[in-house]
Amino acid sequence: MENKIVAKNVNLHYGSKHALKNVSLDIKENAITAFIGPSGCGKSTFLKTLNRMNDYVENCKIEGTILLDGEDVYDEKVDTTVLRKKVGMVFQQPNPFPMSIYDNIAYGPRIHGIKNKRELDRIVEESLKAAALYDEVSDRLHTSALGLSGGQQQRLCIARALAVQPDVILLDEPTSALDPISTLKIEELLLDLKDKYTIAIVTHNMQQASRIADYTAFFLVGEMIEYGQTKDIFSIPKDKRTEDYITGRFG
């Protein structure tokens, strides 16, 4: 399997806080990679370095390299809008825009210059279908997205990310605010989507990582402790700290 993203010796400081310590990690194409670890371990911070979301954080200093398809995402020539089109993101709390379902999905393509209504109709329909939401909302595309359930809103956010045709989808605890059925729907969706996209997900739910991720990385106090195939991490972890964390011996 090809590496989609290659991170080498990534160090990140928030002011005096050393939040990522020499993290090196390859993210495989068309696979799901999960980042696990206790709160504050750096997993979300690392996820956000992949599409430069940390650029918005004051006093944030990043060293090392992150290559996407062999190109350095921190190169000064990189247009972050284009980068974030390629590397989409879905957050913990579903955050639909206060507008219609249709306009939520069409928002990104419009920003990227698509004005043709027929083209937008096609993108909206395809994105909603890809996010397994179309059948539930096809008769109310022009009603407010805020009227959807939490699970539907999160699938809408995934559809919104898909609408700009990304290569990579980053998800930061996308199901932590959802009920078990909505969670399973999102998990099934991610398993379907990995054939076309590269997916990286931060999760506190260890069963979720073991259910859907092909690869899992365990972070602890800013360090990436262990990375490997998920079945290895959850059956025979190499590092005692990984074993202690996933078996709940950490206290």
Binding site: M206, Q207, S210, K231, F234, S235, I236, P237, T242, E243, I246, T247, G248, R249, F250, G251
Partner: protein, 219 residues
């Protein structure tokens, strides 16, 4: 430590498992003793105690399933619980076979001595040694020791072949000994099967540490 309830339950399961190991070692020890001394009372006690072994097996199984249901164990905890679930089956079979031998002892005459068939005492000795060493390897998580124990199974198989030859000879010499020969053959077969179950237990010692059985990855 987090998940203290989980560790209490895991520990409770291990207490039951240790009890089962102890009962099985006791059963095979007594079985050989009853056979050597034609001790019918002891043979009956072995049969009675087999129920206790079966009850502990159910208790371990129930505790393992409850741990899986409530705690979804992973890594060493998952290997630990699955090993226990597998090992109790072989322990229970060893208990059954000891009871089966005890039942045959009850059917035999005192004159049909333990020493009549030269290689049966050797099979009994190897069986006790294998069970005791395997359970010690299991408790100590000692794969090397488990592999050593597995080698004794060949010795057990060879002894079984020897017993068969001896019995054929006995029947050839006196056809009236056919029933007796069948009883001895069954006893020998039970010892040989005990060896096979011990080999299984040794394989789970490897799994518990490595996730592999005979170098094949299971999880």
């Amino acid at each position: 430590m987090l998940r203290s309830q989980f560790h209490i339950e895991l520990n409770n399961m291990h207490v039951e498992l240790d009890k089962m190991c102890h009962l099985v070692i006791e059963a095979i020890d007594r079985c050989v003793e009853a056979f050597q001394n034609h001790d019918l009372e002891l043979a009956q006690e072995i049969i009675r105690n087999d129920k206790a072994i079966n009850d502990v097996e159910r208790s371990v199984e129930s505790k393992c399933l409850s741990l899986i249901l409530k705690q979804q164990p992973v890594a060493s905890d998952l290997r630990d619980v699955s090993t226990a679930l597998k090992v109790v089956t072989d322990l229970e079979r060893i208990g059954d076979q000891s009871a089966d031998i005890a039942e045959l002892i009850l059917e035999m005459d005192e004159k049909d001595s333990y020493l009549m068939i030269e290689h049966i005492p050797s099979m009994a000795r190897v069986a006790i040694e294998m069970v005791t060493s395997a359970l010690s390897a299991f408790h100590e998580h000692d794969i090397q020791k488990a592999n050593e124990v597995k080698k004794h199974d060949r010795e057990m198989d060879q002894l079984f072949e020897e017993v068969k030859l001896e019995l054929v000879q006995i029947v050839k010499e006196n056809k009236d000994h056919v029933d007796l020969a069948i009883q001895f053959l069954m006893i020998a077969k039970y010892f040989e099967r005990i060896g096979d179950h011990v080999v299984n237990i040794c394989e789970w010692v490897e799994f518990n540490q490595t996730g592999k059985v005979n170098d094949t990855r299971l999880i």
